[in-house]
Symmetry: C2
Subunit: 429 residues, 2 copies
């Protein structure tokens, strides 16, 4: 068995996961790759930092040049995250004829075209399975397993932090802030949770999945984004009454060469498999025109699950299954596809108002909605004739535009105090 | 774009699915494979049979030699099923230097070693994604995505017919025979349903998955097999009271180089994702030591889902991603792993008796169980002091042997009329 030398950039959570897997599963990996993998260099910020894992000081370096200039290193595994350094290091490594494995969603979502072009020029391989949904092999699924399909939809729970928060709010009935605090204590959410909670992380992942699935470069600026900060326990309870569970979904659909792309908290029918994905688990539902509905469920983050995807990519490079020309899906020969403005998207909607529960108010609301082509499926309210009572209802399919116009008028009604929530429903048709 | 000629053996359900996909998704397939695929020959039994799809008579043939001897045909897609002819034709096609794609679980489960050896000798590719769980890409998952893992468990619902029957019995409360009849009317079950209902089909699929996952040739004769014919609505109702749903599971586990391999109706906790897989859907849960739990859910049969897997394999061959040496997992360098006799397997058990509900009978039963190291978790019975009343209980983990010994003694008790059911519980730990 031949030896192959690799370098890891970054030795945080995922980096140590990769290290552990390479050690623990050494025998299996050798058998499957036909190589003995040796990590010769690990790029870290502080060599002398205390670590749970003992690594000899010869392996650690704080100088990227030690890796780029070492011709014996064949594969560079980029796990430092962020954008500028990560991107620069990957480009320099490719120019030095090293294959790349990365878990960096930010860089792939923004600069895949540029990076894949360089990989092609330099005749090196570029793998990024771990950039979306950690341990779930969604990239390979789209790129290799579902090649016989025209993919019509991808709908996923791709952010573990928000799924943890929403699961806790739903199952334990605690508030958003309590659930966020719990997530932070468990290490599931960062001190500044913006990237997860406001949906940015899910947008990057959706951009990558949609680009691959629809064969077009998706600009993340075109993805409608709405986070979960405003989801209240009242909404979760009302949704439950209507038979729904609230999840942060990343949704991509293609119809007639037009794309719908959005990330937002969504009411999912409680009997649907996605409604029952809890805790930090991720799940992605793909609808292909041949395979029908296919769902993948697993851990979207964590040292070992993400490490599983990274090491899987390393083994794929060693097996040399894929020629650089195969991985250019994000690069060349792309169709342009128009992204539909989110205002034009048709959805069923869930709306919650605060009203003074007087005779006639529901009639006034329904009349305004009806005039704007919005019809109500179901209403829930406490029949107590109180001032400041919640009123929640769900509508048939409508455009966001018609909902907005209606609500602007409803807001002016004497007994409507405020519009508390407007959420989309996904009916999976 | 170059043209490539392929032949299809068999033009039933899956064959026509493949034909439809190649036509409908021609543009996508050409882009992804870099080839224009032309089906030049289709082997059928009766050329003049009426078909829903119009195929020119030049393409249809009832003589396999027309395909074997045609040097322009590069790939042979075997979809005739069964064993003798299918196996012979595949071998002859490989000897004629043609790559193979097959959906034949029976042949793969029994003769993979022999077939892969020939593929290696002849330097042709041999793909069989469609042989297990139709549209769910489980083979690629194990062979390519999870290479970084030591796979510890595979637990799946891999037979759509039995899952349809059990779902109908559970959700609509109809009997096994009514549900079977419905399945037959819908084309989900064959006139002779033995292969599905008695678990043979699931055994073939488990043999293939276990061989790949554990790197050892699994002899299907070593797989414990029990079908669903004896599952009654009473068992389904009792299981529900205990918080379980009954599913036909295919289970493979490795611990300390010893294998547990079994197919049987199983009580699954009703909150577990597998309990909520209904209708003809399949789902497979894989536990890897790095990725943790990963589940795939989708359609396990049908023309287009199975066709999706077959055409995906054709595209993989055209991309030539995989070298023959990579596909020999079932062939060479295999560890011998002992299969544990099912009597030694530890499970929790569900047991239903018919008793005369008199004072002391439960005490007598519990005493016998206790003496044989079997302890009861929970009991359900109608407290009506009737003769011939059902008594169901679930136990802590026990070996089948201890259960059997206990029940032989319990059967002799004066007020125990009969032992109605003995089912295993899967606790997913």
């Amino acid at each position: 068995v031949e030896k192959v030398k690799i370098a890891i950039l970054g030795f945080g959570n995922v980096g140590t996961g990769v290290w552990k897997i390479l050690k623990e599963n050494k025998k299996e990996i050798m058998k499957r790759s036909n190589y003995e993998i040796e990590v010769t260099k690990i790029l870290v910020k502080h060599i002398d930092k205390r670590r749970d894992i003992t690594v000899s000081n010869e392996i650690l370096t704080d100088n990227i040049d030690d890796i780029i200039n070492d011709e014996s290193i064949k594969i560079v595994v980029e796990l430092i995250g962020g954008k500028d350094d990560a991107k620069e290091y990957m480009i320099r490594a490719m120019r030095a004829k090293k294959h790349i494995v990365t878990a960096n969603k930010l860089v792939i979502a923004n600069w895949s075209k540029e990076l894949f072009k360089i990989a092609e020029q330099e005749n090196v391989l570029f793998y990024y399975e771990a950039s979306v949904a950690g341990g779930i092999p969604i990239i390979r699924e789209i790129n290799e397993s579902l090649t016989a399909n025209r993919i019509e939809q991808i709908i996923g729970i791709v952010n573990g932090t928000t799924n943890y928060i929403l699961s806790k709010m739903t199952i334990d009935g605690i508030s958003f802030h309590e659930a966020l605090k719990e997530a932070q204590e468990k290490g599931y959410a960062e001190a500044d949770p913006t990237s997860d909670v406001d949906g940015f992380d899910a947008v990057y992942k959706l951009a990558i999945m949609a680009s691959l699935s629809f064969g077009t470069k998706v600009d993340q600026a075109c993805i409608y984004r709405e986070g979960i900060r405003n989801i209240s326990n009242i909404d979760i309870a009302c949704a439950k009454k209507f038979g729904y569970t609230i999840k942060l979904l990343a949704i991509a659909k293609e119809e007639n060469h037009k794309l719908e792309l959005r990330v937002h908290p969504t009411l999912v029918p409680s009997t649907h498999p996605l409604a029952n994905v809890n805790d930090v688990f991720n799940a992605i539902l793909i609808k292909g025109n041949a395979v029908g509905e296919l769902m993948l469920y697993g851990k979207g983050a964590g040292d070992l699950p993400t490490g599983s995807a990274v090491v899987g990519d390393i083994i794929s490079i060693l097996r040399n299954n894929v020629k650089p020309s195969d991985i250019s899906d994000l690069n060349d020969d792309l169709d342009f596809k128009e992204v539909i403005n989110s205002e034009e998207n048709q959805s069923e909607f869930y709306i919650r108002l605060n009203i003074n529960d007087k005779a006639g108010v529901l009639g006034d609301i329904a009349t305004i909605l009806g005039k704007n082509d919005v019809s109500i499926i179901s209403v829930t309210k406490d029949v107590n004739h109180q001032a400041k009572a919640p009123l929640a209802f769900i509508t048939h399919k409508s455009s966001e535009k018609n909902i907005t116009i209606s609500l602007e008028k409803i807001k002016l009604l004497e007994n409507v105090n405020s519009i508390e929530s407007i959420l989309r429903i996904e009916s999976f048709d």
